[in-house]
Amino acid sequence: MSHPIIIIGSGLAAYNLARELRKLDTATPLTVISRDHAGFYSKPMLSNALAGNKSIQQLVMKSAETMASELNATILAHTEISAIDAAAQTVTINDGRVLPYRDLVLALGADPIRLPLSGNGAAGVMSVNDLDDFAKFSAALEGVKTVAILGAGLIGCEFANDLLARGIKPVVLDPSNWPLSRLLPAEAGERLAAKLTEAGVEFKMGVSASAVDAIEQGYALTLSDGSIVTADLVLSAVGLRSRTQLAAAAGLTINRGIVVDRQLQSSAAHIYAVGDCAEVAGLTLPFVLPIMQQARALAATLAGTPTVVKYPAMPVVVKTPACPTVVAPPAIGAEGDWQVEIADDGITARFVGSADELLGFALIGAATSQRQAMAQQLPPVLV
């Protein structure tokens, strides 16, 4: 019997790759190794689970046992990898066993970035990056009236909107001037802020937290302008950093993520990377759409048909029901200008190049109905 394909990780990238692979290859042994419970859940759903009144049990759509049987795979839950030997094609797991692989796929995900904070409450700052984190956060919300959120990006805005469903007041802090500042032009960001404010979110823009101190009830945050905000709980949502330590220790090429080629192969033969930990053509994109493109391409490659990953235009839906928002940011370094149409019920912002071609867009409110039509005019991200 041949050695198995081993996938490290059990998030969306890992399990979608496994599902795609099984459509093409039902025979090759498959092993999934996860440091957590290895149940299948949808990470995007964590940021609107409060409004949906979803319990942790409901969020786990399929247990590890169900996944093992559906995928005809061996699943090792609560198992850490201590080392990869790229030359010997083996991984060592934490009970000391050495497992050989035919091909190894790193679907390790990313870690939440933690800002350097002083103060005796800094360790109490939470972040939500997986289901276990969400379970802790959700339990900690009991009796809470205010939550300070560090970061007004996608996750910060989505959690802020979601907390309103629990009657909790979110206070969102960010050094930029409007939410989603890296994705939205000012007019669109200001509309998003206004709508969320109307719904009950408080924004403090142009400031960041420098210290978090535990007080009698909750936390006191000292801000960069010297002012102080108090909250029962603090959630950090300032971005993600690819998990690369394991790959670096194995000698693989690392940049922002684990560097892979268009076939998703790392600098070592028989080792691939997908999802939030992978850097493809200089891009680390922690979104569902690119992950699905990667999963399909790598599944084909592993099943014997070498296939390069392509990215179509990939609009991102921001799950802020108080202000429906869709963004398809222009490529980094793209030359052009935002053209913004403002209406009472929404905003259409087009990022247009010198030949009047559409290179990106942001849609707010009623304008989100143009998403599909506009996405079709965009150039693909990776041809």
Binding site: M61, L289, M292
Partner: protein, 54 residues
């Protein structure tokens, strides 16, 4: 009328509401959605993944 949820991204298709902006009229049953339809939020094809009844 039923609701169906994309298990990858959480998008909910409500048969009662349809997706008028995509030309899918209110009342369209899940079974009548074209096979080449893709989830509007994550792009996963209808045939590619399970929708679960909510």
């Amino acid at each position: 009328m039923k609701k169906w949820q994309c298990i990858v991204c959480g998008f909910i298709y409500d048969e009662a509401v349809g997706l008028p902006e995509e030309g899918i009229t209110a009342g369209t049953a899940w079974a009548d959605i074209p096979e080449d339809w893709a989830c509007p939020d994550c792009g996963v094809a209808k045939a590619d993944f399970d929708m679960v009844e909510v």
